[in-house]
């Protein structure tokens, strides 16, 4: 069970996405860079050259290492690259939410929430 202490410091949204997705969300003012010397960003811009290991490292940093992230937004097509990590992630905090990207519209088949629904109804 999650205690209040688990989530009261989790005040940032983090994003893992392609450039347009990150730009769009940062426009709303969710971007944050911590004080130097760490200067940790709460977003990762993923392009064709980004290694899957870098995506996985960012996901791990946002979900496990950092204690100040409350919600992780990730493009669905990027989540596909680390699907095993997403599907086995069960912690309540931070919450992971898959979002569509420009070139990859939202696919309900891949949505982890709807997959849970199917499992509950025994499909």
């Amino acid at each position: 069970m999650a205690s209040t202490a688990d989530y009261k410091d989790r005040q940032f949204l983090a994003v893992i996405g392609d450039e347009d997705s990150v730009t769009g969300l940062l426009l709303a003012g969710i971007g944050h860079v911590t004080d130097p010397p760490d200067s940790q960003k709460n977003f990762l811009v993923v392009d064709n050259k980004t290694e899957t290991s870098a995506i996985e490292a960012a996901f791990e940093s946002f979900t496990e290492q950092r204690k100040d992230i409350g919600i992780v937004l990730i493009n669905q097509h990027i989540a596909d690259k680390i699907r095993h990590r997403i599907d086995t992630y069960t912690a309540a905090f931070p919450t992971v939410l898959e979002i569509p990207s420009k070139e990859h519209p939202y696919d309900p088949e891949k949505d982890s929430v709807l997959r849970r629904v199917r499992r509950l109804f025994g499909e």
Binding site: L13, D20, G24, A28, G29, D111, V113, L120
Partner: protein, 222 residues
């Protein structure tokens, strides 16, 4: 029989949540599509070589929208999420101004060009004001960091589509995302309850079968 009713009730509740989840999803998809379209329009109209993207991000950015997890009103341990504007920063006001401006713009796109000019003038004034404020001697909190409206990363005069994208992004981040996340948590909670109720029912059924067997055996021996 009672457990059956419990499970039905939980499943009904679950389906309501699912319905809400899917409609919020649809809304988020629409907003995201709008954001991408507006960004594309801004990039299309931009000067050669200019792209509204990561090259212009401010490396010292501070979040002006933050997550607040409120303890849930029900007995469950999962909190409900909200995304709020950080109070006491310059940006809060500036950001709000640009939202209302953008909203206006969406409402009357026909008069777009005139309004854009007006808007730009206003914004220039706003920026001048904020610059004036910045040059003033620092107050009692010298280290209080200012959050800057992300639009400013891309210049003083930003194109209309970019401002529209920002307005849509505000809506997605402040309104839809926290609701989706809260519903997701609530659904997970109900799933656990359903599984628990099913287990209880299975146990009760097994116990009933056992006692039936015992009874029939006793009959045979008698």
């Amino acid at each position: 029989m009672e457990e059956m009713g419990d499970i039905d009730h939980l499943l009904e509740q679950y389906l309501h949540l699912l319905h809400e989840y899917t409609s919020l999803r649809a809304e988020l998809n629409k907003l995201q599509a709008g954001i991408y379209q507006n960004l594309a329009r801004a990039n299309f109209a931009a000067e050669r070589g200019m792209r509204y993207g990561q090259d212009q991000y401010d490396d010292r950015m501070q979040a002006s929208r933050r997550v607040v997890a409120l303890p849930s009103s029900s007995s469950s341990a999962r909190p409900t999420f909200e995304v709020v504007k950080v109070e006491g920063s310059d940006t809060a006001a500036a950001a709000e101004a640009s939202v209302s401006k953008s909203d206006e713009a969406v409402a009357s796109e026909v008069q777009g060009t005139i309004r854009e000019e007006e808007g730009d003038k206003k914004e220039e004034e706003e920026v001048k004001d904020s610059l004036a404020k910045e040059t003033k001697p620092k107050s009692s909190e010298p280290k209080a960091k200012k959050t800057i409206d992300p639009l400013r990363w891309f210049g003083l005069i930003t194109p209309m589509p970019l401002r529209q994208a920002q307005a849509q992004s505000f809506q997605a981040v402040e309104d839809i995302v926290p609701k989706l996340v809260s519903i997701n948590a609530e659904m997970a909670e109900v799933e656990i309850e359903v599984r628990r109720a099913r287990k209880k029912r299975a146990k009760a059924e097994a116990a009933a079968r056992k006692s039936e067997d015992m009874a029939s055996k006793e009959e045979i021996t008698a």
